[in-house]
């Protein structure tokens, strides 16, 4: 009934070379390619394609086929597309996933039912770092708590006395605020969880912030919401009096829109485009050459996920028949991450540094971020102890 | 004749500044055909709407069978035996003639919270419905969709639906509106055949029909009843002649 049509996208090498008799390594990549968040998906896909180029289109001597699937920013669609990847396309690895809810809806179809490895290239809900951790689940990103913890630690060290916290009223928003409160022990003078995902106006909150007179504002508004918040923050005149600190709200996706408005804003991140790592220089330079814009951390994490898979396939010389061996090879994380040092904790989340970045203009006048400090080194997420895997 | 079956006490209905019903007190006796006439805009349809429960009067009272029914809505009044037909044909166009009447039978048969049994094949509904169609002369049109019936047939169908509930009092809002002479004649025959079995309040413009059928006639002008009486009394009433009939329209 549902004939198997050609895969949505095929590795570049396949176009040039004649079809190999060998079965290709198949990787499924689930992200959002339509709707308001498609810009993130585009950044991720570009990075995946770049990674494949850097690999010469091959892993362990075998051709690579990547099947991109659109989750439409909906958990049930994401799950359905994921099922297609493992049940119909029978991919060897599944990766991608921007959203916690899409990942939580989908992961069991991969890790449990298909006994296949899933590598999250962005979403990092606490459940999966803790009690729901899984031998087939790996992350090349972070756990939700970690980035705000890094930011909080930095603000604490910097001597910021009081903060006003704001985020969307949803699970990740609450995680982020909980995260910053783990490490920032100064005064929280106000906290607003705003309507999600369609809050239009922040004027009431701006007035509250003005009345509360905090030393700084901490926000978590990813994507378009970050653009919206920064615009209204600047328009309200608060920028002159109260500095803005953020996680995931000022990045390579949003900066082309925030432009000058965001300059000077500090944020935390485990990867920044100017990190002095060879692999990173190559990734960023080639990405910019190809697309004319900076890659985002979404892209960097996706690039890493492909490189991680490649390292495992190389180590096994393309033989993926022994699942235990595949898991062990992935877990070694024997690849050159664009963020530098990278290893897996017991719960298969990375142990990594977090940096403080500032929004600046580059020499061509483009808004971007640059590293100004290291917030924490070799950080582990706070949930791994709850993970039964040791 | 018997006691008044339907009686109103000083009904008043206003729309903005306009008084559509201005202290109307009329009564309809059991078995009587009481006609309500009046020029366009006299407030006949508004009065029918208040009698049937479609609209609430601003003040005044409606009594049916000795009980105050002013607060009851249309379905509740219908269940007590006060049924109406509409000035603008109102049937269920997507249902056949038979189904239209069968629904009316069903309405009368108690609650309809029966979810599984096929009502279309229910003889308790079909047989009385078919009899009702025969009565109004639509026996051979039972399986035709109401939307495909002619105008006159639809008016007949309405009467059949109104009768199917075995009402004690029938409110007929211009049953002959838009009919040709033949159809009108048939409707007059039909109404005549129904006389004596139940009370009827007939609103009608066709004066031939009214004077031929009515036991009593009330004349409504600007929301007021200016006269009530037999056909002869109404014909002779000077106020009616002046205000409504004029000098040359005794027909």
């Amino acid at each position: 009934m549902f004939a198997r049509f050609g895969a949505a996208a095929v590795g570049l090498s396949l176009l040039a070379a004649p079809v190999h008799a060998q079965a290709p390594i198949k990787i499924g990549f689930v992200s959002t390619f339509s709707g308001p968040q498609a810009a993130i998906g585009q950044d991720m896909r570009r990075s995946v394609e770049l990674a494949l180029e850097h690999l010469g289109g091959k892993m362990g001597g075998k051709p690579v086929e990547i099947v991109f699937e659109d989750d439409q920013f909906k958990p049930d669609v994401g799950k359905q597309r994921t099922e297609k990847l493992v049940q119909q396309d029978r991919v060897n690895f599944v990766t991608g996933y921007i959203w916690s809810n899409v990942l939580l809806a989908s992961f069991k179809s991969v890790t449990d039912e298909a006994d296949t490895i899933l590598i999250s290239a962005n979403a990092g809900p606490s459940q999966l770092a803790g009690e729901l951790c899984n031998k087939n689940f790996f992350s090349t990103s972070w756990n939700n708590d970690q980035t705000p913890m890094a930011m909080g630690a930095y603000l604490q060290a910097k001597g910021v006395k009081s903060l006003y916290l704001m985020a969307g009223n949803y699970a990740a928003g609450k995680d982020m605020l909980a995260g910053v409160k783990r490490t920032f022990t100064g005064q929280i003078v106000g906290e607003d969880l705003t309507k999600w995902p369609d809050q239009l106006d922040f004027s009431a909150e701006m007035a509250k912030i003005r009345a509360a007179k905090p030393d700084g504002i901490f926000i978590f508004y990813p994507g378009a919401h970050g653009v919206q918040f920064v615009q209204q923050y600047v328009q309200s005149g608060l920028k002159a009096t109260t500095p803005l600190y953020q996680v995931f709200s000022v990045d390579a996706i949003t900066l082309p829109q925030q432009k000058d408005l965001a300059l000077g804003t500090l944020g935390a991140q485990q990867w920044v485009n100017d990190l002095p790592v060879d692999q990173n220089r190559r990734y960023v330079a080639d990405f910019r050459k190809k697309h004319g814009v900076y890659p985002s951390y979404y892209g960097a994490q996706s690039y890493d996920s492909i490189m991680l898979i490649a390292s495992a396939v190389e180590a096994l010389k393309g033989d993926l028949s022994n699942k235990d061996a595949v898991r062990a090879a992935v877990k070694k994380a024997d690849f050159k991450s664009v963020r530098g040092a990278f290893s897996f904790n017991t719960n298969n989340f990375p142990i990594q540094n977090f940096y403080i970045q500032e929004a600046v203009k580059d020499s061509d006048g483009n808004a971007t971020v640059k590293t100004i400090a290291t917030a924490v080194t070799a950080a582990k997420d706070p949930h791994f102890a709850k993970c039964p895997m040791k | 004749m018997a006691e008044a079956l339907l009686r109103t006490h000083r009904l008043v209905k206003r729309f903005g500044g306009l008084i559509a019903t201005d202290g109307v007190s009329i009564d309809v006796r059991d078995g009587e055909l009481h006609a309500l006439i009046g020029p366009n805009g006299a407030g006949k349809t508004t009065l029918i709407a208040q009698l049937s429960g479609q609209q609430r009067p601003d003040s005044g009272r409606v009594e049916f069978d000795g009980r105050d029914i002013t607060a009851l809505d249309m379905p509740a009044r219908a269940r007590r035996g006060l049924t109406r037909s509409f000035q603008i044909t109102s049937v269920l166009p997507e249902f056949t003639a038979l189904q239209n009447v069968a629904l009316a039978v069903q309405a009368h048969a108690g609650h309809s919270f029966r979810f599984l049994a096929n009502a279309r094949r229910d003889r308790r509904l079909r047989e009385p419905a078919f009899a009702g169609l025969e009565l109004v002369g639509l026996g051979n049109r039972a399986q035709i969709l109401a939307s495909s019936l002619s105008h006159g047939e639809r008016r007949q169908l309405e009467i059949a639906m109104a009768l199917a509930g075995e009402p004690r009092l029938l409110l007929l809002d211009e049953p002959m509106a838009g009919m040709g002479p033949d159809e009108s004649a048939r409707m007059v025959d039909l109404l005549r055949s129904l006389k004596g079995q139940r009370g009827m309040l007939l609103v009608e413009h066709d004066m031939d029909a009214v004077f031929a059928l009515a036991d009593r006639i009330s004349v409504l002008v600007y929301g007021r009843v200016i006269a009530t009486g037999t056909a002869a009394e109404i014909r002779a009433d000077p106020e009616v002649r002046q205000a409504y009939l004029g000098d040359d329209s005794g027909t």
Partner: protein, 304 residues
């Protein structure tokens, strides 16, 4: 006191912004009785038009002035291709067809403008703040919204109740044939009115652009809000839409400004901070449901 004044002003400003969003809809939905879910798409495309023209002319005002006729053209095209076939249909057909249009326009924008969002910078004369009281700055652009919103409200009220065109639209919506018999080209009239609705949608889109962000699906966010406002106000009433927008604006602002503190007086801080956003999120839907239960045809709607 100063805080109260500020939040009241925020409420007025938000109410007028919402009225702007709903203004086009009062014409097409309120008066022509067309359930146009794609109204949000016109708002989105209007904002993208504005972005394109602003980038092109390097002027907010010029770009805006070019975007409006472009939106008119788009509205007329949509009306001629799809909408005019829907007037005589039931609401369900209208919902289905315009739902399809939403999907179409969202993808079209992605094809034409790419997936990344856009932003427009404010013209310098409204970029700063104005002190409403000594030491209490208020964004100048929000005043611009207040002005434009008020002007649109007056314009609409005048158009609908005072002009021959407005009379014809209202008459035409309830009785097309009658108006047609008067020798008016009712088809053309409706095309123009729909086009005008698109212009108002685009105006809302470009006015909102510097506060919100221009992105695919931006119309979906405001669509339900705009419908809610019109339904609260009563379909067909410009005054109703205006009053509803102002009420919703104040309720929304005050819900966010005071409910958390109010809850803290009788709930624990933790419970209050999780309950408050839930309450303010659903507040406008509660208001709408309450209004409709109380008055099933809205505040100023015609009673049947």
């Amino acid at each position: 006191m100063e805080y109260l004044i500020l939040q009241t002003l925020n409420g007025i400003q938000l109410g007028l912004l919402m009225f702007l969003l709903a203004a086009g809809l009062t014409l097409t939905f309120g008066i022509m009785d067309l359930v146009n879910l794609a109204h949000g798409s016109l708002y989105m495309v209007g904002a993208y038009f504005a972005w394109t023209f602003i980038a092109w002319t390097d002027s907010f005002v010029l770009g805006a002035l070019l975007a409006l006729p472009a939106a008119l053209a788009l509205g007329v095209a949509v009306e001629m291709v799809v909408m005019r076939r829907l007037y005589a249909r039931d609401h369900l057909d209208q919902v289905l067809a315009t739902f399809g249009l939403i999907l179409f326009f969202n993808e079209l924008v992605r094809v034409v403008w790419g997936p990344a969002g856009k932003s427009v910078a404010l013209p310098s004369f409204v970029a700063g703040t104005i002190d409403i009281m000594p030491g209490v700055p208020y964004p100048a652009y929000r005043f611009a919204i207040i002005v434009v919103g008020a002007v649109v409200a007056l314009l609409l009220a005048w158009l609908v109740t005072r002009t021959r065109m407005g009379m014809l639209i209202r008459a035409g919506a309830s009785n097309r044939r009658m108006v047609g018999a008067l020798g008016v080209d009712i088809g053309l009239l409706f095309t123009l009115v729909f086009g005008l609705g698109a212009v108002f949608a685009a105006l809302a889109g470009l006015m909102a652009a510097p506060i919100l962000s221009i992105k695919i699906g931006m119309g979906d966010d405001i669509l339900i809000l705009a419908f809610v406002i019109i339904v609260i106000g009563g379909i067909g009433s410009v005054k109703g839409a205006f009053v509803a927008a102002m009420i919703v604006g104040q309720i929304d602002i005050f819900g966010r400004a005071y409910v958390p503190d109010l809850l803290k007086t009788f709930l624990s801080a933790a419970a209050a901070s999780s309950a408050a956003p839930a309450i303010s999120q659903v507040l406008i839907y509660v208001v709408m449901a309450a209004v409709l239960v109380w008055r099933p045809t809205g505040l100023f709607g015609q009673r049947s």
